[in-house]
């Protein structure tokens, strides 16, 4: 004969499994804060490239025209963010004794990659044709869509981060000339807020 404690225990266990099953929960909050900072630094340099006469050092390093400078800058920020997220997430998974490459993370990456890569190709294509206004809103919208899509396989907070990115992308499209500001808000400020929330909710060692 089971006691009521057993039943309570069973229900708790079932809820936990149903909530976590098939999801990848080791994403690091700290990496969110860091990539937000990278994005703000990147936005600052982009602002200097676009709006101020470049100092000689930068002119020497990036000899191409403004667009190529911006693309190079964006690629550096993207790569740094990718490496940071991967590294910190790997560390966190290792600490929790979880595998980083499992069913949940595979599903999450596939679902993230589909809108992300198609958006990336679209944006680069239009950039080379000279439609620069599309860059900021499309980056934000496609990134937001990727997050919304991936959220089913990780923490639910990602879903709301995705929705916020999409909203900022639409605003950036509605107000021409504000691309860089919304880009900095979306990739910088939002990531820092989201990263802090995740850090305090899940990462901070509990007392």
């Amino acid at each position: 004969m089971k006691t009521t404690e057993n039943y309570l225990e069973e229900i708790k266990e079932i809820r936990k499994i149903m909530e976590q099953s098939g999801r990848f929960l080791s994403l690091s909050g700290l990496s969110g804060i860091l990539i937000g900072i990278y994005a703000l630094v990147g936005a600052y340099f982009a602002y200097r490239i676009v709006c101020l006469p470049p100092p000689s050092v930068i002119r020497y390093v990036f000899a191409g025209d403004v667009v190529y400078q911006l693309i190079t800058l964006a690629m550096i920020v993207l790569l740094a963010s990718f490496v940071t997220t991967l590294w910190l997430t790997w560390q966190k998974a290792k600490k929790d004794g979880k595998k980083i490459w499992n069913h949940g993370s595979r599903q999450m990456l596939v679902n993230l990659a589909i809108p992300f890569i198609s958006g990336g190709i679209l944006i680069l294509t239009f950039t080379f044709r000279g439609f620069y206004e599309i860059i900021s809103p499309a980056c934000l919208i496609f990134y937001g869509l990727s997050l919304v899509n991936a959220a089913k396989f990780t923490r639910q907070e990602i879903f709301y981060l995705g929705l916020s990115e999409i909203s900022l992308g639409i605003l950036a499209a509605l107000f021409p000339g504000t691309g860089l500001i919304f880009w900095a808000l979306g990739f910088g400020v939002l990531h820092i807020i989201y990263g802090s929330v995740m850090y305090f909710r899940y990462d901070r060692p509990s007392k």
């Binding site: 039943y7 069973e10 266990e13 499994i17 149903m18 499992n102």
Partner: protein, 98 residues
């Protein structure tokens, strides 16, 4: 009290089987290895409980081959889904009575 307890499914009278059903109720399909990893079980332990659920026709099995390596995946059946829901309701009823 006795009445409510009758609604509990004998097939789920075990934590591991409840765990298996929980995973399968939220994933459309799960492989043997995925279940093993999520529930942290040994091969033999998992296999015997899966067999029991299979016998009750609460889960269905699909066997395929990946490069000649057998790949077994499991799905919850309609009967299994209904039974699991009934069981959860019964558990909740019991807790409500207290």
């Amino acid at each position: 009290m006795k009445n409510i307890l009758q609604n509990l499914d004998k097939a789920f009278d075990n934590k591991i089987r409840l765990g298996i059903m929980s995973v399968l109720s939220v994933n459309s399909r799960a492989t043997f290895n995925q279940l093993k990893e999520e529930l942290d079980l040994t091969d033999g332990n998992l296999a015997s409980h899966l067999k029991a659920l299979e016998k009750a026709e609460y889960v269905s099995v699909t066997k395929t081959f990946n490069d000649r390596k057998p790949n077994t995946s499991y799905e919850i059946t309609e009967a299994g889904k209904a039974a699991f829901e009934r069981h959860l309701l019964a558990l909740e009823e019991i807790l409500k009575q207290l």
